[in-house]
């Protein structure tokens, strides 16, 4: 049978962001794959060296819209590590809250797009309707629907009063039932199962070899979650389960994301219960001494690492970050081996690629 190539991307209906795949096809079967990146490189690491520590919080928040809290939060943690700053107890919980609401919205967005990819637009609309409640929470608490501007060096820039706390409790309670309903749909619907079960398999052995992170790793049975392995903020005070699935296919990754979305609600509720009163920011602007540090966190797509080198001036000497998609996209070669054309967008979506973070 003749082999020919089709382009997927850089502009493609099923891709949220520009990425180019040259796929070699034989009939309907994928026989080869070449991934090219670099369409949204903006030179942000260089930009970070031209701005002071405080301006970089705003800069890192604009790396990407879906993980826009994980970046500034991890950056602030790296700066705090260099400066030896211990953030207030209340701020630790507030950082968890900002992290989890973003995780909830991001994971729902991904599973929604998955439904759209298989042409199930009603389910996509339904998921986005539930996600809209998460957006309402963000708008109600932080004033923005995407970039929360929650973090600052040494704490957080927002606080909750009684009114907002009760608004949060009501909204979170209201999201539980619909979330449970869509979980059942994703887990049991015959059509979704037919399209996602056994598709894009990444065996545990390959997952370890490729060093994949986040829901992609957990979907392949690897119980690796930074929130559990190296707790930051207040995660050591909160109880949650590291969600894993063993089937290692597109469906497993979607189910892990949905369960983590449900856990996000539980974590936020725990924060509301246990959060102590007190300050959320330090009294004065911190001095950043020379030195270097690493901080890591669990972004919605997986482990995010920030490296910072300071020379004692008001600007970083070097700031570098490793994003989860960088680790995950090589796994696409393994996942797409001998798959069908129809499964390409599904498999790409299953690693939840964040191109703007990766190429920055």
């Amino acid at each position: 049978m003749a082999t020919y190539s089709i382009p997927v991307g850089p502009l493609h209906v099923a891709l949220e962001e520009p990425m180019y795949f040259r796929v070699d096809i034989e009939g309907e079967t994928v026989k080869g794959l070449e991934i090219s990146a670099g369409h949204v490189h903006r030179g942000m690491e260089s930009l970070a060296l031209q701005r002071n520590y405080f301006q970089n919080i705003t800069l890192t928040e604009r790396l990407c819209s879906l993980c826009s809290n994980s970046h500034p939060c991890t950056y602030c943690m790296a700066v705090e590590n260099v400066a030896g700053i211990d953030i207030p107890e209340r701020a630790r919980y507030l950082r968890v809250m900002a992290d989890e609401i973003k995780r909830l919205a991001s994971n729902l967005f991904n599973v929604g797009i998955m439904a759209h990819t298989i042409g199930f637009n009603s389910l996509f609309m339904h998921v986005m309707e539930i996600r809209e409640q998460a957006q309402d929470i963000k708008e109600g608490v932080y004033g923005n629907r995407m970039d929360l501007a929650a973090n600052c060096i040494g704490g957080v820039k927002y606080d909750l009063d009684d009114g907002i706390e009760s608004f949060l409790r009501t909204q979170l309670e209201e999201m539980k039932r619909p979330l449970d309903e869509i979980y059942q749909i994703y887990a049991k619907d015959p059509l979704i199962t037919a399209r996602t079960k056994g598709i894009g398999i990444l065996p545990k052995k390959d997952a370890v070899r490729l060093g994949v992170v986040g829901p992609v790793a957990r979907g392949s049975g690897i119980a690796y979650d930074v929130r559990d392995k190296a707790p930051y903020s207040a995660y050591d005070q909160l109880s949650f389960t590291v969600q894993t699935e063993e089937a290692a296919d597109v469906r497993s990754r979607a189910l892990v994301r949905l369960r983590e979305a449900m856990d996000a609600i539980s974590l936020m509720e725990q924060c509301l219960e246990r959060m102590p009163k007190g300050p959320t920011v330090p009294d004065c602007l911190p001095e950043i001494p020379p030195g270097q540090s690493v901080a890591r966190s669990e972004a919605p797509r997986g482990e995010l690492i920030y490296y910072l080198k300071s020379d004692g001036t008001d600007r970083p000497q070097r700031l570098k970050w490793r994003v989860p998609t960088y680790m995950n996209w090589e796994a696409l070669h393994a996942m797409m081996h001998n798959c069908k054309i129809s499964d390409i967008p599904l498999i790409i979506n299953s690693i939840d690629p964040c191109i703007s973070c990766t190429e920055r």
């Binding site: 020919y4 190539s5 089709i6 493609h12 209906v13 099923a14 096809i25 009939g27 309907e28 439904a115 759209h116 990819t117 298989i118 042409g119 199930f120 637009n121 009603s122 389910l123 609309m125 309707e129 059509l191 979704i192 037919a194 399209r195 069908k340 054309i341 129809s342 499964d343 390409i344 967008p345």
Partner: protein, 316 residues
């Protein structure tokens, strides 16, 4: 003789094919979009949006890929539209239009009915786009898949209607003996036909040849402007044909009061059929893989149609 030609000319150009089929087809497409939007809690476009699309597309420049086969690329949408317009002229409407004399044979219709699908295939393959080629092969597979239950359904109806192969005869039989929709033997065939409609219209589970997220509209990817408008018109007329045919085969119920009562009644029946088999189906399902769709057609609609065919033979 001359009267017959005039009769056929009117059927092809004005009613029930031609202008009538184009107008109702576009209107139904608009209503389908609104129905799906409401099921998804959206407002949806205006009901005349498909008409606005046609007007806009017809004012655009025709762009043809350099490596495309020019003649086939241009002819394919015309062939598809003509094929579906002829089909529309051949399907009788109970109490309104008896069909072109001597031309309403279900086998003729079956052949003509493959023209729009063939137009898609020719258009896709002549465009020189790899997505067009994939769309071509998918359209071919799905056509083979849905033609099996369609043939069995048509045969079951013909056998049940005392071996009448003309649609007019099938309607006459049902007018005398009650519609097949209420006949337990024919209900499986009706269900098979209900699944055939989204299959041929590429809706819901079977939106495979043109799958936007997979092959970016496949065969029509390279089409733009007036040629794309022709494909849209073809699809609108084809929708009316499958709906009218469904009504003629299973529910050609008449109301007393002549043409001005029965024509709106026919359109209402078509609308109900569309809302069930296209809009609701499209809103409540996603897309299967082409291999899954092929097996689905062999398993369910084919079995249902064969059950009716067997029943019709045994109870003859």
């Amino acid at each position: 003789m001359i009267n017959d030609y005039i009769h056929a000319g009117i059927a092809l150009l004005i009613f029930p094919g031609g202008l009538f089929a184009l107008a109702t087809g576009l209107l139904f497409k608009g209503m389908d979009r609104i129905a799906v939007a409401r099921l998804q809690r959206r407002v949806g476009p205006p009901v005349l949006q498909p008409v606005f699309d046609i007007i806009k597309l017809s004012t655009k420049e025709i762009l043809i890929p350099e490596s495309a086969n020019d003649a086939i690329f241009k002819l394919a949408p015309m062939m598809g539209l003509m094929g579906s317009l002829v089909c529309a002229a051949l399907v009788p409407i109970a109490g309104v239009w008896k069909g072109i004399p001597g031309a309403g044979d279900i086998f003729v219709l079956l052949y003509l009915f493959s023209l729009p699908a063939l137009a898609f295939m020719f258009g896709g393959s002549s465009s020189s786009s790899p997505f067009g080629a994939i769309g071509f092969s998918r359209e071919m597979v799905i056509m083979f898949a849905y033609e099996i239950p369609l043939l069995a359904t048509l045969l079951a109806v013909a056998v049940r209607a005392d071996w009448s192969l003309s649609l007019d005869g099938i309607i006459a039989y049902q007018t005398a003996n009650g519609p097949f929709l209420l006949d337990p033997v024919m209900i499986p065939a009706f269900l098979a036909y209900l699944l055939f409609i989204p299959g041929t219209m590429g809706a819901g589970l079977f939106d495979i040849p043109e799958a936007e997220e997979e092959v970016i509209e496949g065969p029509v990817l390279e089409y733009s402007g007036p040629l794309l408008a022709l494909f849209n018109l073809m699809s609108a007329v084809k929708l009316m044909v499958v709906l009218s045919l469904g009504v003629a085969l299973f529910f050609p119920l008449l109301l007393p009061g002549g043409i001005w009562v029965n024509l709106p009644f026919h359109l209402v029946k078509c609308l109900v059929l569309m809302l069930t088999a296209v809009s609701l189906f499209r809103a409540s399902t996603g897309r299967l893989r082409i291999d899954q769709a092929f097996i689905f057609f062999l398993k369910y609609p084919s079995s249902l149609a064969y059950v009716s065919l067997l029943g019709a033979f045994l109870l003859r």
